[in-house]
Structure formats: C-alpha cells, structure tokens
C-alpha cells in the first residue's frame, strides 16, 4: 500500500528550497558552482528549516539551455562533479533530514543525446521514431504553425533525414516522442535509476509538454490579448496551444510515473505546468494517481500579488478532499526575482510577508536560492547574457540570467565568495551587500526572520497539512483558517502599506507567538501594521 508509511505526507506542506547548482557555490574555481559546493553548504540549508531541496539539472549536458538540454540522463556533468559527489551530497542531506528532489527534463533531450544522434541519421534506424519527425509541406515550409517558446517555428529541418523535427524550446532541444512506448519505457528506466539511488523525488520540467497531437493540427489563433507578462514580447502567446502541448494522453504517462514512484517509500513528483489553462491542468495533473504536487506560473510572472489574487487562485485550485496539492512559488530560475518584479527593492518586508503567507496556504512552497536574502534582480549587460532565450528577445525580454547570478556568501570576498575564479555570471554590488554573512549578523535581517518563521511553522502540523478556509480577504488583508480535526489556526497578513484591521471570527482565540511578525489583538479586533501578520489558535 503506497503512502501508508509514517511521513508519507511530508510533501503536502513541504518547504522546498531550490538550488541552481551552477550558481550556488563553486569549489573548483572554474566559475561554475558544483555538487561539492552544495554539500559544503548543507548546514546552511538545514538551518533555513526547509524540508527538501530541489536541485536544477546536474546531469550531462552541452549546456545550451544550462542543463535543461540533457545529453546523458545517467551521468553527472563533469562541470558539476561526479556520481560519487552526488552520493555524498545525498547522504549529507539525508543525515540532516533534508530530502533531495531531482530535476528531470523528460520532454526533450539535447540534440547531442545518443538517442537523437541515432534518430536523425535516417528514417529506418531503431530510434527513428523516438523524436517527433514530420515531412515538410509542399512549399518546403514546416509541417504546421507551431511556435517555439524561445522564438521562431518549433520545427527545425534536419538535412540528414530531410525532415523536420519538433522542438518546443531551443532547436538544440528536440522533443521526445511520448507516443512511442519505447520512449516512455526508456524514461521510466531513467527515473528508476535515480529512485534506486535514493533521490526523494522529481521536479518534472515542463510536464505538460510531453505529448503532441499526432495529426499535427495547426494551433488556432489566440482571440485574446496575451495575459501573462512573461510572454507579451513573444509571438508564442498569439496562439492557443491546443495541439502542440497538454494533450489528454499526457496524464497516462504521469500515471505510469506515479506507479513507479509509489514502488518506493515517501517519494514525490512535483510537476511544472505551463501558463495557459494552468488551473484546469492543475486539477487534472494532481488528481489521485498522478502528480503529488504541481506549480503553475500564477505568481511567478506577476508584477503585483494581492491578497485577493492569492485567495482566488487557491480557491480555483480547489482544496476539498481529493483535490490536488499545489506548490506555491514566487521565484525560480526562469523568472525575474520577485523583489524587483513586485517593486519591493526598498521594502523587502513586503516581499517577506507574501512569501510567508504562501508557506501558510494549503500546499508546498518553493523558495528559490537567494529569496531568503531578498535578492533583487541582477542587471546583466547584453554582452554578458548567457541565456539564449534572452539574447533572442533582448531587450524586450532580457532572459533569465538576472535571477541566475551566483549566491553571495560573503559581502567582502571577491565575487561574493561564490568562486575563486571569474564566475559565469557576475555577482552585482547590490547582491554583495545582501550576502549571507552580513545578514547572519543582523538580527532583523530577512534571512534571520525567515529562518525564525520557518522554525515556528515547523511546529504547526495543522499549517503543514490541514484543510483551508478563507476568512476576510480584501485588497490588502489576507486571512484564512487552517484546520485539522479539532485544531484551528487563523493566519492573517497585511499586504498593504497602511495599518489594517481584521475582525476575529467567532470563538475563543489564543494569540500565537514566536513567528516574528507584528500584529496585535484587542478583544475581537486584530490590528495589523504594514507587512504585519497575526496567528491565533482556537481553543477547543
């Protein structure tokens, strides 16, 4: 029986710290972070009070998309270290009670992967059907109107086969053909390899992109103006992605993957969903027997995060018994840093209260490295941009490097103490002043406040796994009840710049302390200063 073990529900309200290995800590001096660097900072991670780390890809890759283009699923890229390094890291994490979630990029491979090199060589080889190949139209142009997220047609002509292949991202990232059972089996074998090794789960990159329409029908135009900030600069948003991605058969593969995962104890699947139609897909993909958790782009691309918005998304995702579990995220390696995006560079407390509110909602939360320091977006000049996505759409979209710069560990050390060599992206002066060592010493720093809060939260089982019911929600005030059995906890936050008030719901409430946020109760009235929060427990 799956999920019957003690701790099997650990993921439901987990705090997952995302590590971008390339930028975490460089121990070799080549300017690029590595696995030993992560191992060396495990105490730091443990002290944050997180339940798990998700490590962005570290397997073999020509790095055209910084590791999201895999050329060997079963080997560690030499840039990051060796398989032994990974064993050590895994062991070190487990010793500290930290679970390790690995990033699996299954939708596509690198064009240097042996599977693709064989597949592209002709139409009759053993892997001929492992990728999505199609003939040209009569006029030589691509088979249909599908577009790449990273710009241009999503079809690339391959002279060796005289056919086009599908790539939803860079042309160096051919899409695997998930309609082929052999492909599915090969990918399940990859996952089994890492599960056997002891990883605690997978973050599944673009898992709505696995399947395509086998009839290759054209996508219809999008009748609406693009909504997501993230894509306004990109013609990709002018289509409804009806046929290129998110096909109904997708969930069958997710079910197989879940069955595999359930052969092991306490493992988790965390899916990345795409922007369009995210709510429906979330319900579908996190239904029983499929993913444990999934995150959409709801808050990742947003330039404003209001109380109402958070409540609405949470309600839309559903939180009745049987509904799936979301994973909340304001930041990751694909989006500009929320501190800057939301305009909080001068008011990091406003960022912190939102982050903390997310961790109290029903679901897990991802915290991206550097968010605990409230790092702003780094400004990278065009010459230094490494992200091909950014070079394509610069300057309307400057790519993802601004959120991928190295972690600043020591404010006085060269390159923030990240590397003894020249780092692959610069550590900017604003980041150096926010370095870990500086914040460590400052009692009220964002880092210390977040640590303190997460420590407090870890003792509140109801916040981790309980049900949710929203209370007063207006422009600025977000409040909700988390409840499990007889235990009821009221969580209230003020996102506004002015003081706010909140009426206590009926019942006998006891104020909870130790979370580090300002808020005061006067009889039935809760007074919340700007960026304040209040927590109370209902007496039985």
């Amino acid at each position: 029986m799956p999920n019957s073990n003690a701790g099997a529900d650990w993921w439901k309200g987990a705090i997952i710290y995302q590590i971008y290995p390339r930028s975490f800590l460089d121990t070799t001096g080549n300017g690029i972070g590595d696995l030993q660097g992560i191992a060396r900072k495990l105490d730091y991670v443990a002290e944050l009070g997180v339940d798990a780390i998700w490590i962005s890809p570290f397997v073999k890759s020509p790095m055209q998309d910084m590791g999201y283009d895999v050329s060997d699923y079963l080997a560690v890229d030499p840039l990051f270290g060796t398989l032994d390094d990974f064993h050590m890291l895994l062991e070190g994490a487990h010793d500290r009670g930290i679970r390790v979630i690995m990033d699996q990029v299954l939708s596509h491979t690198s064009n240097q992967h042996a599977w693709f090199l064989e597949s592209r060589d002709g139409r009759n080889n053993r892997k001929a059907d492992w990728y999505v190949w199609a003939d040209w139209k009569a006029d030589g142009s691509p088979p249909n109107n599908w577009l790449s997220v990273f710009g241009g047609s999503s079809w690339q002509w391959e002279p060796r086969r005289d056919q086009y292949y599908l790539h939803n991202f860079l042309r160096d990232q051919p899409d695997l053909n998930f309609h082929n059972d052999e492909v599915q089996q090969a990918l399940l074998d990859v996952c089994r390899f890492w599960l056997d090794l002891g990883v605690d789960g997978f973050r599944l990159d673009v898992c709505a992109f696995y399947m395509h329409d086998t009839q290759l029908r054209d996508n219809p135009p999008n009748p609406d103006e693009p909504t997501g900030e993230h894509f306004r600069f990109n013609p990709y948003s002018k289509q409804l992605h009806k046929y290129d991605i998110a096909q109904p058969e997708n969930v069958h593969f997710l079910e197989k993957l879940r069955q595999l995962t359930d052969e092991y104890e306490n493992r988790v699947l965390l899916g990345e969903l795409h922007e369009g139609d995210g709510i429906r897909i979330h319900r579908d993909y996190t239904a029983p027997g499929r993913l444990h958790l999934a995150y959409g782009y709801w808050l990742l691309g947003a330039h404003d995060i209001s109380a109402k918005q958070i409540a609405r998304i949470s309600e839309d995702l559903g939180h009745e018994f049987g509904d799936g579990w979301p994973c909340w995220a304001m930041d990751n390696h694909d989006f500009s840093r929320a501190v800057s995006r939301l305009g909080f560079e001068d008011e990091p407390e406003a960022f912190l209260v939102r982050l903390v509110a997310l961790t109290c909602l029903r679901g897990a939360t991802c915290i991206y490295q550097g968010s605990e320091l409230a790092l702003p977006q780094a400004e990278i000049p065009y010459e230094k941009i490494a992200d091909r996505y950014g070079r394509e759409f610069f300057p309307a979209f400057k790519g993802r490097d601004g959120s991928r710069t190295p972690m600043p560990w020591e404010s006085a050390a060269p390159h923030g103490g990240f590397s003894k060599g020249e780092p692959w992206l610069p550590v900017t002066p604003p980041h150096a002043t926010l370095a870990v060592d500086a914040q460590d010493q400052t009692p009220g720093s964002i880092l210390n406040r977040l640590r303190g809060f997460l420590r407090w939260r870890s003792g509140q089982e109801t916040i981790r796994t309980g049900a949710i019911r929203f209370c007063q929600v207006d422009e600025h005030v977000l409040s909700f009840l988390r409840h499990s059995g007889e235990d009821h906890i009221l969580c209230a936050f003020n996102f506004g710049k002015e003081d706010a008030h909140l009426m206590l719901p009926e019942g006998d409430w006891t104020e909870l302390h130790g979370h580090g946020f300002l808020g005061a109760r006067e009889r039935d009235d809760i007074h919340l200063p700007a960026n304040g929060a209040w927590f109370g427990r209902k007496s039985a």
Partner: protein, 570 residues
C-alpha cells in the same frame, strides 16, 4: 530617377530584353571580356599576424596579381562587421574594419593597383545590413521613428507565425521576430542580415551615397551582392510550391534545402528591382572612366534571366552566377547551360564563374574524376582554358590559378553558419576559403605568422604553393600567365560572337569565337580518355593548347584533359 516606363511583370521584362539584341563592340569595353581575379581578403595574405588576411597583405601581393595577366580584381568586403557572415553583414559602409587595416591602407592599395594597371572592384552589399548597423538599431526601436520603414517589417499572422511562407536560403523562415517592435523583419539570408527596403527612396539615396563615397575615391566599380534579392513583393504574397526539382536546380545548400521546394515568384527576382538597378547604373555612369557594376545573381535561372539585369546598358554591366557551378550534375547538362548562355547573351552580359568564395573548388566540382585520377593540375588548366575563351570572360577565384582542390574539413573546423545549418549534407563555404598557400615549406603556407590561421591550410595545398609553381614552367600558374597574355590580343576572344557546338560527343566541348573576318575554334576534352573529332584540314594551332593534341588523317586527336585553340588551315 528616369521617367522611362518599364514593363510591370517578369514576363514582360523578359520580352523587352529579348527584343533588344546587341552587337559586339569594337573597340572592346574593358569589362566585357575581362578576366577578373577574386581576392577573398580574409584568406589572401596576413601581413599583421592576426591569422586573418588584411589590406596590407593584398598590397604585398599586388605584383603577383598583375603577373597573372588579369584585367583587375574584386576584393571581398573589408568594412566593419560583426563577421557573422564574414563581412557580408556590414555595420558601416564607409570605413575599414580594424581587423583588415586602415583607410590609409586602402588608399595605398588603390594607388598600388592603379600603378600596375589593375582595376579594383569593391564588394558592395546593397540589399541588407548587419542587424548591428545603426540604421537597423534605429528602425527596430518603434514603428514610427524616422527609419521605421527602412527595412521590410510586417505584423505577425493571426496565429503569431510569420507573415508568409518565405524561407531563407540559409535555412528556416526568412522572417525573424523582433521583440522590441513586436513585428517580424525580413531576412533572405541569415537572421542577422535584415533586408533594406530599397523601394523607399530615402533608403536608396542612402545606399547610393555609400556607393558614391567609394566612387569618389577612385574605385573602378563594384561586385554587387545578391542582386536577385534587391527587392521583394510589396504585398508579401506567399510563394507557390515548386513542382519539380528542375525549378531550383541552381540553388545551393545541399540536395534537400527546403528553399528548393518553392517557386520563388515573390522573394527573388521581382520587377520592383528594375528601377533600383537603373538608379545604380545612372550613378556609376555619372563618373568618368569605365566604372562597372557586376552583380551576383543566385538562386534562380540566371543564364536565361541575366539579360533582365544587364539590359541595354541601362542596368548592370554584367552579372555572374552559379549555373556553371551548381549545374554540373552531368557533362551534357553543363554544355546545355553553356549553349543557353551563349544564346541568351543578347543585350546583357554574363561573366563565367567556375567557382567563387561561396562554392567549392572548380576542379573538384566540375572534374572530380580527374582529381581522383591524380590529374587535378591538368584539369585545372583545361578549365582555365575554357573560362578564358568562352564569351564573357571569367572571374577566377584565388587559388584556382594554382589548381587547388577542395579540402575535406572536420566539423570542428567549420566557421560558415550556412554549413552549420545544413551539415553534413552541405559542407558550406569554408573549403574554398582556406588560406592561400604561398610557400610550400611552411606549415601555414606563408599565409600568416600567427600560430593559427582562422581556417587551416590543407596539407595537400602546400605542394601546389605559389613558390613551387613559379619555378615550374609546366605549372598551372605559369600556364595561366601564358594563356592570359595570349588572349589579350586575340580579337575573336576579345570582341567576337560565340557558337557552342552541340554536334560533338561527350565529353568533348567545342565552340567557336568569331568576328566578321576572323574565327577561332576551341576544342577541349574534359574526359580522361583520348577522343577524336573530325576535322578536314590540318589546323593552325594557337600557342596555348596542349602539345599532344595532333591532327592526323582528317581527325583531331585529343588525349584526356587536353585542349586546343586553332584557326582553320589552308
């Protein structure tokens, strides 16, 4: 601009061209039968030790160029450029890229060429710029800036896709999304080479201004890049599919380039280019001396359509094309192309190019069996002989005077973005762009003192180096010198008409060059076996043929790869 009405459609343009026959000129205009040498500066001679050739390197070799006996040379682009297409992506049309030298170097080169009686043609790219050119940087900023209409911009289709089905001959759509303007911009070649809108009078004025900058300085003319792409259909109509492989026999990029699957009615060779051509010609004609425009005509049936581009001395002086390069599938086909060219050379003018910096080496392309048989030098002589005697004269790419063969490059050595797109079906243009071998005793061929030239010098080219060939009377180099010296005074070659003989068996090639009172017959055996051809009387051989060609008992006997030019005997 001239008020003359020009016909609207492409068929009408052809009809016009065919109605205007021209006669040979006497005395000859220098450019008509001129032999022109192409210098690919990046690979010619490196005087500064950067691993790339430069202007001073060309200056140092001016005597060498003069001694070839050519009438002048065309110098590949040396303008400032990010070099994504090796200088055909230009950011400033009026100066010298520091990698190639200075403006003073250029003055010295021009002076040195003229002092040696050599004409100097620059390489001018009228149809596109680099995307780093200030014009484009301004144009992309908004839809209403002063240069907003300097390039070909168009909105996305309703589904976000490009405005039509046009393809780049270098691969992929010919439209690139620009995120700043939120529009697509047209690029017939690389995405970093947006097309100028030459139908915009302001743009044409600016381009002409750049042309005048160099004319004022005294250059003798220009090789114009890609004249089939000067304009595109203003309505941006999609091309229809092509029906057979025949439609695009002359398109490069390997056997399956998707570009071949369209009939390029709307993105190549459109009537809107005619006034542009006439404006360019008017500009050049307003200068003294015989300044010339020689256009590169590619991706189309150039042997037939050249006349549209060179009509009546109102457009370009001449074009050169790829028909003899890409049309080399069979000997019969090749001779057929020669015949077409001869017949269509009515009022226009086409120069014969057997190779150039965009193709592969002439001997390896046209006579691969001779190269395999170890007879590359003989094959090279035969080809140079044909090139120098055919109507129109020729353009000789650097190194072909040495009979260089196409080297085999590894993918790691490849620099050409076109090759990277179509590898391995198409190996691109690097093979012909390897540096000149000047000295056989140096691993780097005496090309550079840098540790690494930008492309390797193929080992097999060292045994064909200039210094060895200068010492060898029988070398390809010395043969070419004698050949060009001979043709200089031969009136049938300089001004004569031409007839290709279709009555000789393959692989013999025979043609006649003639004026009213003189006639030279040319016969070449392009095969490896001896052949004979009936000839009633013993001929009078010109002193440039292969000695082993004999007349005996009513026949001319031609050993493999031999050739002769002769007048009828008494």
């Amino acid at each position: 601009m001239k008020a003359s009405a020009y016909p609207a459609g492409r068929e009408a343009l052809l009809a016009e061209a065919l109605l205007h026959r021209a006669e040979p000129r006497d005395p000859a205009e220098w450019w008509r039968e001129a032999m022109i040498y192409e210098v690919y500066i990046r690979s010619f001679h490196d005087a500064s030790g950067t691993g790339m050739g430069d202007l001073r390197g060309v200056i140092q070799k001016l005597d060498y160029i003069r001694d070839l006996g050519v009438d002048g040379f065309w110098l590949s682009p040396f303008f400032p450029s990010p070099h994504k297409d090796f200088g055909y992506d230009i950011v400033d049309f009026r100066s010298v890229d520091p990698r190639y030298g200075t403006m003073d170097d250029f003055y010295a080169l021009l002076e040195g060429a003229h002092a040696r009686g050599l004409r100097l043609l620059l390489d001018f790219v009228p149809g596109h710029t680099s995307d780093e050119h200030p014009w484009f940087q301004e144009s992309r900023k908004s839809r209403d800036n002063p240069k907003a209409h300097w390039y070909v911009w168009a909105d996305a289709g309703a589904d976000g896709g490009p405005p039509n089905n046009w393809l780049s001959s270098f691969g992929g759509s010919a439209w690139r999304w620009d995120a700043i303007r939120a529009q697509y911009v047209y690029h017939p070649f690389l995405a970093c080479q947006p097309a100028l809108d030459l139908t915009n009078p302001e743009v044409l004025d600016a381009v002409i201004g750049n042309l005048c900058f160099w004319l004022d300085m005294g250059v003798d003319g220009f090789r114009l890049d890609a004249v089939q792409c000067l304009c595109c259909d203003p309505a941006l109509r999609s091309n229809p599919p092509s029906i057979s492989d025949e439609d695009n026999g002359m398109v490069g990029g390997g056997p399956h380039n998707p570009f071949k699957r369209q009939l390029h009615l709307f993105d190549r060779d459109v009537p809107q280019a005619v006034p542009v051509l006439e404006r360019l010609r008017d500009t050049v004609s307003s200068y003294d001396g015989e300044r010339v425009l020689i256009g590169e005509l590619a991706d189309m049936d150039a042997s037939r359509f050249a006349v549209k581009y060179t009509l009546q001395e109102r457009r370009l002086h001449a074009v050169y094309d790829f028909d003899l390069i890409n049309g080399a599938e069979s000997f019969e086909k090749w001779v057929g192309v020669l015949d077409i060219r001869s017949k269509y050379m009515a009022s226009g003018w086409t120069k014969n190019a057997f190779s150039n910096h965009d193709s592969i080496r002439a001997v390896s392309n046209l006579l691969p069996q001779a190269v395999e048989a170890g007879r590359a030098a003989d094959a090279a002589k035969a080809l140079l002989f044909v090139q120098a005697t055919l109507l129109g004269g020729g353009i000789i790419f650097q190194g072909d005077e040495l009979g260089l063969t196409q080297p085999r490059l590894e993918f790691e050595d490849i620099r050409d973005p076109w090759a990277k797109a179509f590898w391995p079906e198409f190996e691109g243009r690097d093979g012909i762009r390897t540096p000149m071998p000047w000295h056989h005793g140096d691993r780097k061929g005496g090309f550079t003192i840098a540790p690494r030239p930008w492309l390797p010098i193929p080992k097999e080219h060292l045994s064909a180096a200039v210094d060895l060939q200068e010492e060898d009377d029988n070398s390809v180099l010395n043969f070419l010198r004698r050949l060009l010296n001979w043709r200089r005074e031969e009136q049938p070659v300089r001004i004569g008409a031409e007839t290709i003989r279709l009555d000789v068996p393959s692989p013999l090639l025979a043609f006649e060059r003639y004026t009213a009172d003189d006639r030279i017959s040319v016969t070449v055996n392009l095969g490896l076996e001896e052949r004979r051809i009936a000839l009633e009387k013993p001929p009078v051989f010109a002193p440039v043929g292969v000695e082993e060609v004999l007349w005996e008992a009513g026949h001319l006997h031609l050993p493999g790869l031999s050739f002769a030019a002769f007048r009828a005997g008494e």
